[in-house]
């Protein structure tokens, strides 16, 4: 066959058939040395950049859950099954939901929390929807992501039956008590660890009867291509992924997604294994059957030079169906080898059709991820952002605007009981323009001493004067991280919290992590 002839021809034109001229031991030594140098940067920035399609705390929670289970399995293997009841109990409580009394403001454990890392949405004080991810049974076996509903303020939860269209990948968005939607993702079985595996299918599930029945629409979230043909070939049949969904009715929703692009990411310390992820804003007005989408444009640096990494991640909050504000991180290409960044604020007054952008003022340098931006009114927004300088001296502050994003102020509530602690913020929920709750944790000792989260106290702060003053709300002392808070118009809140990591195991990266209730 002619083809065989030509394939032989090409095969024999192979320009490189020899062994590497360099000694393998020398190459290995270089890699070991470079890998060691790279770690501090990885901890501070690269990991977060790499994982921007998910909430950093969510990633942490996954790691903690996995390692916790590893620890549980280890303990069980040593002590035998007789210890399993208490361990099972600790897991359930570890990933529980705590309920806020509207009058007292304090939080206490609810009696029957679903296990898993929970994402909660509460359209009323009594009705909440919850998705439980990364849950494990008493033997440490992973459980499928499950959706629950409560109609009694979290006292009891009932698993909902939903179409097998995939695993929830956004929080529920519920404009009314019975109208809810959620973005789900279905990955092909046996797919590699990439979040954008070939064959991944995204769908939106919607209910108008409180979860009794659901409709499903497949949603295409396509990569950004056309820049680098070499990388384009790697993006065939690849889909992006939901990052956020907000619905205004049973038919109208706006969503964000992180999509792979063929724009290679400039190297930071010689590391670059992926094209840059781009942020996409999507809109539907027919219940998810059809969507329009726009890629947030490439941004310039503060000095008007090209930014090499624009909106890999975007936090979005719409106070109405028309007025939306988003925040993204822009990492600079030319300043300090890409290690500094700023926060870009986006605003749309036409439901996401067009967007204007402006820089958030210093000291904001980066956004934090899922549910850390909320705009209760068209003029008022609250965002948790990274401030200061990059690892190991970063801090987090609450950034607020009262004029629609024209100007911003910053607050970082102090905690008198832990003056040296710095605050980490994971979630913000506001019930009005002036009343908000923030979930997070105190890192006792600050960074870098506490870089590995080895001494934390879960905390929730509240403000009823538009963020001017903040009060620390009591949480049970055994909780180390408050991951999410969801409040409704009558100021009752549910929060999700987990216990601290054991002090004996300050790192996620090696060996067992035990629940603090184990010993």
């Amino acid at each position: 066959m002619p083809n065989d002839r030509f394939s032989d021809l090409i095969r024999h034109a192979n320009p490189v058939t020899q062994e590497p001229p360099r000694l393998m031991d020398d190459a290995w030594s270089d890699i070991v040395a470079a890998q060691g140098r790279a770690h501090p940067t990885f901890d501070g920035e690269r990991r977060r950049t790499r994982l921007t399609w998910t909430h950093p705390r969510r990633v942490f929670a996954v790691a903690a859950a996995v390692l916790l289970i590893a620890g549980v399995s280890t303990v069980m293997s040593v002590r035998g099954p007789s210890n399993s009841p208490s361990l099972s109990s600790s897991i359930t409580r570890a990933f529980g939901v705590v309920n806020a009394g509207a009058s007292t403001g304090d939080f206490s454990l609810t009696p029957a929390s679903p296990s898993g890392f929970n994402l909660v949405t509460c359209p009323t004080s009594q009705v909440c929807y919850l998705e439980s991810q990364f849950a494990f049974d008493s033997a440490g076996n992973p459980l499928p992501t499950t959706a629950y509903k409560t109609v009694d303020g979290g006292t009891s939860w009932t698993a909902m039956s939903m179409p097998a269209a995939g695993t929830p990948n956004t929080s529920f968005s519920c404009p009314t008590v019975s109208v809810c939607s959620i973005g789900v993702v279905k990955s092909p079985s046996g797919s590699p660890g990439s979040p954008f595996a070939v064959g991944t299918v995204q769908s939106i599930l919607s209910t108008t009867d409180g979860g009794a029945t659901w409709t499903s629409h497949v949603v295409s979230i396509n990569p950004v291509t056309g820049i680098d043909s070499a990388l384009d070939s790697t993006l065939v049949n690849v889909q992006g992924q939901w990052t956020h969904l907000q619905c205004f009715s049973s038919t109208s929703c706006i969503a964000t997604a992180s999509v792979p692009s063929d724009q290679p990411q400039d190297p930071v310390n010689g590391v670059d294994d992926v094209g840059v992820y781009r942020a996409v804003i999507m809109r539907t007005d027919d219940g998810g059957a059809t969507w329009t989408s726009s890629v947030l444009p490439w941004s310039m640096n503060l000095d008007e030079s090209p930014g090499w990494s624009n909106s890999q991640d975007v936090e979005l909050s719409c106070s109405t169906a028309s007025v939306c504000v988003g925040v993204t991180t822009v990492v600079h290409s030319v300043v300090n080898n890409g290690q500094t960044a700023n926060v870009l604020v986006w605003r749309s007054n036409d439901g996401g059709v067009t967007w204007l952008s402006s820089w958030a003022p210093a000291p904001a340098i980066g956004i934090l991820g899922r549910s850390t931006l909320t705009c209760p009114t068209t003029l008022q927004c609250y965002a948790a952002v990274t401030t200061g300088v990059r690892w190991p001296s970063r801090t987090e502050q609450i950034m607020m605007t009262m004029d629609g994003g024209v100007s911003w102020t910053f607050e970082s509530p102090s905690t008198s009981t832990s003056p040296s602690a710095i605050n980490n913020y994971n979630s913000i929920s506001c019930t009005s323009g002036s009343t908000c709750w923030v979930a997070g944790e105190l890192l006792n000792g600050g960074e870098p001493a506490n870089t590995h989260f080895n001494n934390t106290q879960a905390s929730i702060w509240s403000s009823s004067d538009s963020g001017t003053t903040w009060t620390s709300v009591l949480l049970p002392a055994q909780l180390g991280f408050a991951l999410e808070v969801a409040c409704n118009s009558v100021a009752s809140c549910l929060a999700v919290a987990v216990p601290p990591l054991d002090n004996r195991h300050p790192s996620f990266s090696g060996g067992e992590i035990l629940s603090n209730q184990e010993g």
């Binding site: 021809l9 034109a13 890699i31 890998q35 790279a38 680098d228 990388l231 010689g270 294994d273």
Partner: protein, 179 residues
């Protein structure tokens, strides 16, 4: 005395070193076929550094997985090359060329390949130079096995149309002893 068990970090490091040694030559050749000779070692190192970071997070680290990482490193290295470097790349590639026959140095074949689109070139390289199985190429490119086959044969047809092959090269292939 009982041996002290290796820590998880030490075990991971040891496992990765084994993985490195098993795949170093293949990755080096993969990179050398696609980038400037002066950049090959750097790109190979960068690929393994990234792989080490991800090593514990994947179920089955493999050569295709590693090649996929290296492909991004190569793409980035090539993107940074100026046009002059791109032109130089063709010449530098010849430094690696191995003789096929007395009259054959492969340059006309590689020149013909260079007229193809990058995706066509890449699948020809993966099949015929890197000699990866179709299922591994599917993993590298994120395609189905069938799509790999279809693309390969289309690329080969394009190559056939583009090449101007000296007749004596045909003779070499049809009859290696013919002159």
């Amino acid at each position: 005395m009982a041996n002290i068990p290796a820590s998880p970090d030490e075990t991971l490091s040891s496992d990765f070193e084994t993985f490195f040694r098993e795949n170093y030559s293949s990755i080096w050749r993969y990179v050398a076929r696609r980038t400037l000779q002066s950049k090959v070692d750097d790109v190979v190192s960068a690929s393994f550094i990234v792989a080490w970071e991800k090593y514990s997070t994947v179920d089955n680290p493999s050569l295709p997985w590693l090649i996929r990482i290296a492909s991004f490193e190569v793409a980035n290295a090539r993107r940074k090359q100026s046009r002059e470097h791109e032109r130089a790349f063709s010449a530098v590639l010849e430094e690696f060329a191995a003789p096929f026959g007395e009259d054959f140095d492969g340059s006309s074949v590689r020149s013909a390949m260079a007229t193809l689109g990058e995706s066509d070139q890449e699948i020809l390289r993966l099949v015929l130079w890197d000699e990866l199985p179709r299922e591994d190429i599917a993993l590298v490119l994120g395609l189905s096995n069938n799509a790999v086959n279809v693309r390969y044969h289309r690329a080969l047809q394009k190559f056939e149309r583009s090449i101007v092959v000296p007749r004596h090269v045909y003779r070499v292939k049809e009859d290696p002893n013919a002159k």
